[in-house]
Symmetry: D2
Subunit: 324 residues, 4 copies
């Protein structure tokens, strides 16, 4: 994605920013639009061509980003607003008919806090599929059939997540799969302040746990909307930023500094970063101390937005009523 | 099962005892044998005919019960012995070839303590299936390919457990499914002191949560061994016992007492029990105060016995090494 | 409390009902008044004399009971109403000046679900004492200084709860201690549907875990308000009820029945109950299957009511905002 | 501690290494000795003078470090060895008489995974103080009176940890306080592979959560042994390392490079690090992805070593028997 390949982001918005910085102009095949609400900024990045997809490093599709920097301060006013914006954007992206059946998949490892976001959201999703079999008609008005599953990760089950999800999808045949995942961001400011929705599915190598799976319309035979929130920054990103900052400072110096800075090739930078981090620890994350509480808060916001988007009778405020 | 139909047990051993008491002689189609170790008693009840199955209320198959009343006192010597007996009996019942692949299913609701036994065992099963794809041959010696899954319950996922398990079985095609479940017993003394193994699978209506599912060779297309431990007694069982005790006392009295006792028909007893318990609370359990700790201890015993039975290189003592 | 001494209740309301049934008239030294709201009934039992206290088996003081049978169905409307009533009643009982400092104590064992109510409430109390040292004056308006502690139980810490609480009270010198505890009730209908407030403190032998401690104005040197919710019924209570029901049925029969029923003395009934329950299991509880979820819901209601009562700026609805 | 004051370590061993590097010779008032076992290296740093203490940035006392790099791979052989070494070193440092009473304090925030080590250890300490009051003499042989408490952190309780611990110490008057804490290290390799014991107590500003408290012989009136394990590296440490590495690389270059490197004063480096990290996020940690499992494993090792050190009848292997 970036010059020296050490910086990893799951956010299309960040990939686009990096690309813009590099290309210094808008790139063909990538369309961007946006709107703001009182406490959020919504950006829609549409990747419309294979060329755009290649340049961005993200498959074609729509990527909606909801940014709310104040979310981290625990304000419930901001949390409610993000849930409402999520309800609206997810509703528009999904375009669900009233009788649709939805399967919510909470990806990630419930035993690793920053990767536990998906399972935590699934805990609070308002599950109704089993009621639909028996419930009288009047109860169904305004509710859709929703099932939810946290399939765990390969190290916990010995089974590829994709295998579990495929098996369930084949049995219950939902009209839509909504997959929740914890993401890695480029910038610490994004941790638990940004929500990304996308209709291009989940692709191998994305997410906090570096999953090998793909969950896409092709692999599952049903539409997939991914909902992700950055919960970590990779340590390599910070190390790489430190080097960039230093080189930037040198470049601005007179004389030999600029020349020296140029002398560091991407390969040399990568080597320096690898020297900094123990190579046997594959995944080193930077997280704020309060990550456990941030994950809990973020799961609440996602679940209330989701409950209201999936069940037309439920508002985002009520969506929370079903949360533990 | 009993005269007034209010007492529910998932243990073949208890069903047999009740039947013997009623029939006052051994019943055709039900064979029993046993052995003892220092701290356990092992009983094998074999249901060999459909007639026997009907009388016992349990499908044909082998039911092995390991009883260890001292287990409840937290003795690790007894716990280790039970794990070893479980390893031996499960090994003999399963008769696994070295290259067999096994899927362990932890039934039950992780959010309801007495029903969380299965998921807790799955947490500590030594999962290896994902390693087999990449591991060099020498690492595999003495290990079998084991996957493990806690599918949750209908109220949590909106999906019948059977649907999830079937989907996974169809994808990974194990040679054996081992299903762990929390059971209801007839007697409080059995809670977390008795382990039942059986090769007849899991049948609808059994277990703590009154599951509607069946997991059998017929439904899954693969052999199923069920491992269960009673974790609760139903409140109806205690209420019913209280009435029986009173009637027994009356029967032994002279004069009108015996006559009165006889006057209480099973239907009348059932009515009395229903008066005692609020009818809108379907499942009332009797549990000891320390149930949370008992479930944790029992899950350790099952997991260490299981790990040693499934992986020939691992002993029951080592089985514990992999537990959290 | 009752004729045969096997039934244990921590609720003054139930003790009074049993007493009324026995005495068949109002008892001197016990005053009762009440009010209702849309979904709750509030009863105030005032024990005004030592004679009344002896007869009731509860020390002198005011006992306020909030009954809301619908609370168990998970309705958020009812939950909000109970929280508001709790705010009002606790506020009236406590009569706190604006600058009061409060210490909330969550009694009970966090490792035993039905006894974990107190610690769960403490998790969600809006703690402010540490902010008061540094915060600018305008932030303090409408907030009181609140500290909160879950001291655990003797079996977890090796320390009497009373010793821990006393030590903390001596250091931080609060104006009021609010002690939250899980109670035992006489009737299953009361489990997680009734809240009792009292200004007489916590007395040895009360609560789910049969604590040996006392937390009273005398022992702590500061006012104590106890807030309790029944989370279990003792198994002896159910067994005893079963015998009573049977004897009642016999009494209504003609002839020998009535005579026989009378022949069962309280001592004989107690012996029968002891026969029913294994004597080495001291505490057997009857709980609904969904007890884990009920405890979580009840802790939310108490914490939101408490937050609004302790912090005048916070409403009961907002009280929830601070809950996880 | 280091030239530019951005690197924070709670380990005397690391402080000494940094000091040695700077001073290029042994420092007066600091004595070092060591031994090795099959999988561990034990180093004893003794700070014998106030001058040594000032230079090291650690108060006078004995600091024992047990290093076991293989611990992170989850080997139970290594884990058992570390527990045994901990038992021996803690026993020698504490020099406890048979009848001593000990209070174990688990510092840290149970809601923040890397800071939850202390509370997790307390969960598994074999608590006996409450048994000593009633137990027959023969049961006490080989056991000491042990109490244990996790006092939480200021943000959870509103009470300074020191106030809670002081209150309890004054009531139960132990002969020794053992305080368990999660530490910050200089190097990622140390995370969950190094144990530090010290008899100099806990000092303000140490530990993961940057506690403001001190727990020392002076403040508590009883001896204090601190047991700590690094569970995080501060993000500032990594950022600072990245700059150092770059400057080192430049210094080795010809021409202007060396000159440029020298031009970066400590103050300039600090400014660069601050540019890298968002200033409103006080505590950013680097942790491995598997931190939750590492904390659980480390708590087991500490608890089994502790149980054997405190209770002479218990061996390190048996110490584990009491763990959940």
């Amino acid at each position: 994605m970036t010059a020296h390949g050490l910086i990893r982001t799951d956010l299309a918005l960040e990939a686009r920013e990096a690309l813009l910085k590099e290309a210094r102009r808008e790139v063909a095949g990538i369309e961007t639009s946006g709107r703001t609400t009182a406490h959020t900024r919504v950006t829609r990045v549409k990747v419309t061509s294979e060329a755009g997809a290649r340049r961005l490093g993200k498959p074609p599709g729509t990527y909606i980003t909801i940014e709310a920097p104040e979310l981290r301060q625990g304000s419930r006013v901001v949390a409610s607003e993000v849930a409402e914006v999520l309800t609206a954007e997810l509703g528009a992206l999904a375009g669900l008919p009233e009788k649709a059946g939805i399967l919510v998949i909470g990806l990630g490892n419930w035993n690793a806090t920053p990767d536990a976001l998906g399972p935590r959201v699934v805990d609070s999703v308002m599950v109704t599929r089993h009621l639909f079999e028996y419930a009288p008609q009047e109860l169904k008005g305004g509710l859709r059939s929703v099932a939810a599953l946290a399939p765990g990760v390969l190290g916990l089950t010995g089974i590829e997540t994709e295998e579990i999800v495929k098996g369930v999808v084949q049995h219950i045949r939902p009209d839509l799969v909504v997959a929740i995942d914890a993401l890695a961001a480029r910038s610490l400011e994004r941790v638990c302040t940004t929500v990304q929705l996308s209709d291009s599915g989940i692709h191998p190598g994305s997410g906090v746990g570096n999953k090998r799976l793909g969950l896409t319309a092709e692999s599952l035979g049903t539409r997939v909307i991914a909902v992700g929130v950055p919960t970590v920054v990779h340590a390599t990103t910070l190390a790489s930023d430190a080097l960039d900052l230093m080189l930037g400072t040198l470049s601005r110096a007179d004389g030999g500094g600029a020349k020296l800075a140029e002398a560091f090739t991407p390969a040399e930078r990568q080597k320096l970063v690898q020297e900094l981090l123990p190579n046997h620890w594959e995944d080193l994350f930077i997280t704020p101390k309060e990550i456990d509480a941030l994950i809990a808060d973020t799961a609440r916001v996602l679940a209330s937005g989701l409950n209201a988007a999936l069940h037309p009778r439920v508002t985002a405020a009520e969506g929370e009523r079903y949360l533990q």
